[in-house]
């Protein structure tokens, strides 16, 4: 088990390194010249070269990646110019570890940008996750246990309909009717816990989280239903019945235990994917999260911010993968003891 976890961790670190190199390479190969962009419209070749040097864009690919990687661990200065440090220290921005780059566009370190926006995305993701896991798995289990009945067909039908609606449509619908027309809740505006307390925070998240959860929930209802039905037809469930176990023991101890394992995996990965920001939901509700930051950075070719975001997001997915693998080993003795 310990050896297994260590193996997974090492693989994860390797994956992170490779992923960051690939991300770098992608942006390096991009047709947009970031120095040109930063330098502005009336840019002479000399000015451009100077800008490139001050931003570190004149180095070769691996040197640039090396600086980035080093910055993650020890931080770095922008521009990294020892002379300037003495003559005009006020023009140097220090980016403390973990440094993911510096955005000239936003005159801020990428780490700071992420620090400001991530709580919003994380909040939406956590609350949405709670909705969709509780709702999706519960309804999926109910549909499977009531297979073929009106309840089952109703749930499956409803989930299909909801799955078909685009997220922005559901978000706009909720915003228009629940918040604006019927006034059931105030028009949502992100409120941190520090400001509004748990209730203020939660109620500000209600509509965005529901919007996001609906889509996932619809998928999870059908997925859970399929897994539970499959596991109900397993030989070991028949054995459990043949022993004379009561129905609830057969269902909960034997069938559900096995059915929920793949759901844990899916849920972990889906959650990690959401950590990078629910772009559509954040846009609909105008919430200042990572997704919105990514859209904005994309619009004004803010490469450092984009690179930082992509690497952050990919890291979440890789870390979630490791956690899920470890969870799998905890749940399934065949993985743990082989």
């Amino acid at each position: 088990m310990v050896a297994y976890i260590i193996r997974r961790l090492i693989a994860g670190v390797v994956l992170l390194v490779v992923m960051s190199i690939v991300t770098f390479a992608l942006f390096f190969a991009s047709p947009i010249d970031p120095a040109q962009f930063a330098c502005g419209k009336n840019c002479s070749p000399a000015m451009k070269a100077q800008t490139a040097a001050s931003m570190g864009y004149d180095d070769n690919f691996f040197a640039q990646w090396g600086k980035f990687a080093k910055g993650v661990f020890v931080g770095r200065d922008f521009p990294d110019d020892p002379k300037l440090k003495i003559t005009a220290p006020e023009t140097i921005a220090h980016c403390a570890a973990p440094c993911l780059g510096y955005s000239k566009e936003r005159t801020s370190t990428v780490t700071d940008l992420i620090k400001q926006t991530m709580p919003v995305s994380l909040s939406i993701a956590v609350v949405a996750f709670a909705f969709w896991i509780i709702g999706g798995v519960l309804l999926g289990v109910i549909a499977a246990l009531k297979r073929g009945t009106l309840i089952d067909r109703g749930l499956v039908g409803l989930s299909l309909v909801l799955y078909a609606f685009p997220t922005f449509f559901i978000g706009l619908l909720l915003l228009k009717f629940v918040a604006i027309q019927w006034n059931w809740v105030p028009v949502p505006e992100y409120t941190p816990i520090a400001e509004g307390g748990i209730t203020g925070w939660l109620s500000s998240l209600l509509l965005p989280a529901i919007t996001l959860a609906v889509f996932f929930m619809a998928g999870y209802v059908r997925m859970t239903r399929a897994f539970v039905l499959e596991s109900l037809s397993e030989d070991y469930v028949r054995t459990a019945r043949a022993k004379g176990l009561p129905k609830r023991t057969v269902t909960f101890k034997h069938a559900l235990r096995a059915a929920l394992t793949p759901i844990v995996t899916m849920a972990g990965l889906d959650f990690a994917g959401l950590m990078g920001g629910a772009i559509i939901t954040e846009s609909v509700f105008n919430y200042p999260g990572l997704g919105k930051l990514a859209v904005a950075a994309n619009t004004d070719f803010d490469l450092p911010t984009l690179v930082g975001l992509v690497i952050l997001l990919a890291s979440f997915v890789i870390i979630a993968n490791i956690i899920v693998d470890v969870l799998y080993a905890v749940i399934d003795p065949r993985v743990r003891l082989s």
Partner: protein, 355 residues
């Protein structure tokens, strides 16, 4: 053991058992009028190719079709009680206690996430009001009894850590922990290699003698029947086609399907002269079984029956030449003669000791 045995009649009596599955394509007639009896301490072998309805029929005895769309009718009288008349809860309380089942593939029949000991103890705890500790002690005792070496160490292993043979022993321990009067073993050795097969069959026989339980052993191997069973019931397309004392059926088989099974027995006695002739063709669909005798599309002897009887009329299960205890479902007028002159010389009598 609670003795619910009524003095008149056999311990188990299955009468006209029908199990039909309504499906989108029509009704699957998996069991269609099956009757047999079984005394305490006796063994009946149910043989037939895969898909002939053996598992469906035996699952009906355990009430495993309850809660599904299956239509079950007839009578299953066990120790004087008709199991089909019981409520679901009454049936559940008998499952694993009075009737238990040992399944074909012990790897898939055991839950991969729970230890072997946990799963066996669970079978004991559900029917006995005892502490977990007592259940564990009883589990250890059973594991020891079925021949698991170092049971105190293996009890906390997971099924995948056991070998195939050990898993089947553990399944047997699970099935016998409540000392049931009736054990149904559904192809208990099919998934195992030959040497282990023999050990498991020996173990079952030992335990049967010790507990005086009745056994239904399901198999497609007449060799297993020859070794284990007092009576044999040959099933084809959901019906009994031949039924009688094992020795009688194996020495004087009365109908072509049984002949076919005999021809396809691998040499149990190690007699390499035995020819292995599989029955040509495939078992019929139980959705649209053939008219008349269900075996007729594969039967090479049907031309010996006059007036297309084989394709038009379902033969009844009637006594043949061997007395009232040995019945067969076939129109052939003199099967004994046919068997002696045509079949026997071909298959070499490796199972048949005398003629």
């Amino acid at each position: 053991m609670t003795d619910m045995h009524s003095n008149d009649g056999p311990y188990l009596s299955v009468e006209d058992l029908v199990v039909h599955f309504p499906t989108a394509d029509g009704i699957v007639k998996a069991t269609d009028g099956l009757s047999f009896t079984l005394g305490r301490g006796k063994t009946i072998g149910v043989v037939g190719e895969s898909g002939s309805g053996k598992s469906v029929s035996s699952s009906a005895i355990l009430g495993l079709h309850r809660g599904s769309s299956a239509q079950v009718s007839g009578r299953i009288v066990l120790g004087g009680t008709d199991l089909l008349m019981l409520s679901d809860e009454e049936m559940r309380l008998r499952r694993g206690k009075e009737v238990s089942m040992i399944f074909q593939d012990p790897l898939s029949a055991m839950h991969p996430y729970y230890t072997v000991g946990n799963q066996i103890a669970e079978a004991y705890l559900v029917h006995n009001d005892v502490s977990k500790k007592a259940a564990r002690a009883r589990t250890l005792e059973m594991l020891e009894r079925v021949g698991i070496p170092q049971p105190d160490r293996r009890i906390d292993d997971y099924p995948h850590q056991f070998s195939g043979g050990m898993r089947q022993r553990a399944m047997i321990a699970m099935g016998l922990i409540n000392d049931p009067g009736l054990i149904i073993a559904d192809e208990p050795t099919t998934a195992l290699d030959v040497t282990v097969q023999a050990q498991i069959l020996d173990l079952l026989q030992d335990l049967q003698r010790e507990f005086n339980s009745a056994i239904i052993i399901i198999t497609h191997d007449l060799g297993v029947v020859a070794e284990m069973a007092d009576d044999v019931l040959v099933m084809y397309a959901g019906r009994a086609v031949e039924y009688g004392p094992t020795k009688d059926v194996l020495t004087h088989p009365q109908m072509p399907y049984t002949w076919g099974l005999l021809s396809s027995v691998p040499d149990v006695q190690g007699d390499t002269n035995a020819a292995l002739i599989p029955i040509p063709g495939n078992p019929p669909s139980l959705l649209n079984p053939p008219t008349g005798c269900a075996f007729h599309p594969r039967c090479v002897h049907r031309s010996k029956v006059p007036a297309d009887l084989c394709t038009t009329t379902l033969p009844e299960l009637l006594p043949g030449s061997q007395g009232p205890g040995h019945t067969k479902r076939c129109h052939l007028a003199d099967p004994d003669e046919l068997y002696r002159t045509e079949i026997l010389p071909e298959i070499m009598p490796d199972l048949i000791v005398e003629d």
